[in-house]
């Protein structure tokens, strides 16, 4: 196999691919170790109570890990920029979807009542009589 590709051998004695970028093994392994370290960090933070910042920290660490995977493991750092554009495009639309859905949920939250919708509760009554029922179903909207 290697004899067939002798013409690719460079001065450093390493065979180089016909196309694509060669990422050093050291870079790959260090990236993998960083990802494992960040996983341990994010699990440790779960046991520390910092209120609402728990999910912020957990998601921030997840974003850092994702960026590492995308740039190094998935070669986007050395790839054609258009591939990055394709990925960013999809992320933009996911952020739009989640963002608009959240805004909508937030807007209508005051008009929501506790407990299950009537049809849902009827189904639960017949199929799952042990489902808990909110005690203040009729007392008023959440947050009033």
């Amino acid at each position: 196999m290697s004899a067939m590709h002798d013409q690719h051998a460079h001065a450093d004695g390493e065979v180089h691919p016909l196309v694509g970028h060669l990422v050093p093994i050291r870079t790959l392994v260090l990236t993998g170790l960083t990802l494992l370290f960040l996983t341990v960090v994010t699990v440790a933070v779960r046991y520390v109570d910092v209120g609402e910042f728990n999910i912020v920290i957990a998601l921030a660490v997840a974003v850092v890990k994702a960026v590492l995977v995308v740039l190094v493991f998935m070669h986007l750092l050395w790839d054609r920029p258009f591939n990055s554009l394709v990925l960013l495009g999809s992320i933009v639309f996911v952020v739009l979807l989640v963002g608009i859905a959240m805004t909508d949920t937030h807007m209508y939250r005051p008009s929501l009542y506790n407990g299950n919708a009537k049809t849902v509760q009827e189904t639960l009554d017949s199929d799952a009589p042990y489902a808990p029922i909110a005690e203040d179903v009729t007392t008023g909207p959440i947050g009033s």
Binding site: M1, H5, A66, R80, V86
Partner: protein
């Protein structure tokens, strides 16, 4: 670039193979591409477009998660206690390690280290198996405890008794009951009626929780929900006995199974892809001149890792 790619001038890079497939010195070059670089870039762009649809695919579920969690924060805070953070953490490490071996496999394919490539692909495959085995134990444990989506979440955890009631004729179940006014109840729900039997006759079944949905016992006193120490970190295994269970807790498990299940399907597909890469690799199909399938399969596997990187904190790291 010449429109007639087979002209030797367009490949003045010193290659002199006596190969009559494809473009002479590039046996893997398809006829509709000018150069190996063009073929490689096209393949990568196609893969990235597919991965973008994968991101959008999971994006819908992430939106559903966001809405459910925003509307029911107490459900997520409560339900997260039923997930095993350590098991999820181990699975995260397994997936990251397999992502690393996949990246190394691409590197070894690029440098003609075919044996090392096969070893890395096999390690990646084993990582996928390890992930699915841990997932299997998590799922079976939850299903056993009736921590599932939909009404099944609210059926008693003792499957044997529930099964008996379901298969036995309704009259038999009613006949087996004491003489107090359970007939109407039994008609509505045989399981509910069995729940209401005196302890001597139904000792194996847990009692219903107290509250508006709680069922009065024959003496007319409300059934007491199981006493639960407020200081304990983990809730009781039988969630039906836990008076702290919020309304709509089954929604958490619905979105949990939807998201981790879809991810699990992707892991299985990844295993098929990696298995195929191992098979082709053993037959000597990949090397520095042509490793595109290894590269693209790797991209898919990294996206599987990427999705899990977000699923892990969203389900297992809720404080």
């Amino acid at each position: 670039m010449s429109a007639i790619p087979t002209s030797p001038e367009s490949h003045a890079d010193g290659h002199d193979h006596d190969d009559h497939h494809g473009h002479g010195e590039h046996p893997f070059l398809a006829h509709h591409f000018d150069t190996p670089a063009q073929q490689f870039d096209s393949g990568k762009l196609g893969m990235w477009l597919f991965l973008a649809t994968e991101v959008l695919f999971f994006g819908g579920l992430f939106a559903a998660y966001a809405v459910l969690r925003f509307k029911n924060p107490e459900v997520f805070a409560y339900s997260a206690n039923y997930l095993d953070t350590i098991m999820g953490g181990i699975n995260t490490c397994v997936l990251i390690a397999s992502s690393l071996t996949m990246a190394l496999a691409v590197r070894f394919a690029q440098t003609d280290k075919i044996k090392a490539m096969i070893v890395c692909l096999v390690l990646t495959f084993m990582g996928a198996i390890g992930f699915m085995v841990i997932k299997y134990f998590e799922y079976t444990h939850k299903i056993h405890d009736h921590l599932v989506w939909g009404p099944g979440f609210y059926t008693p955890p003792n499957e044997e008794v529930a099964m008996d009631v379901q298969t036995a004729p309704a009259e038999d179940v009613v006949a087996a009951l004491p003489t107090f006014e359970t007939a109407a109840l039994a008609e509505a729900s045989p399981v509910a009626a069995m729940y209401d039997m005196p302890p001597a006759e139904a000792s194996v079944i847990a009692k219903a929780p107290v509250g508006p949905s709680g069922i009065a016992d024959p003496a007319g006193e409300p059934v007491k929900a199981a006493a639960y120490p407020e200081t304990a970190e983990e809730p009781a295994v039988k969630h039906l006995e836990d008076p702290r269970m919020p309304v709509g807790t089954h929604q958490f498990f619905a979105i949990y199974y939807a998201m981790t299940g879809l991810h699990g399907i992707h892991v299985v597909v990844g295993m098929i892809v990696i298995g195929w890469l191992i098979w082709k690799g053993l037959k000597g199909h990949f090397g520095s001149k042509y490793y595109t399938p290894v590269d693209l399969g790797g991209l898919y596997w990294h996206v599987v890792d990427l999705i899990w990187i977000f699923l892990f904190p969203l389900f297992y790291l809720i404080h």
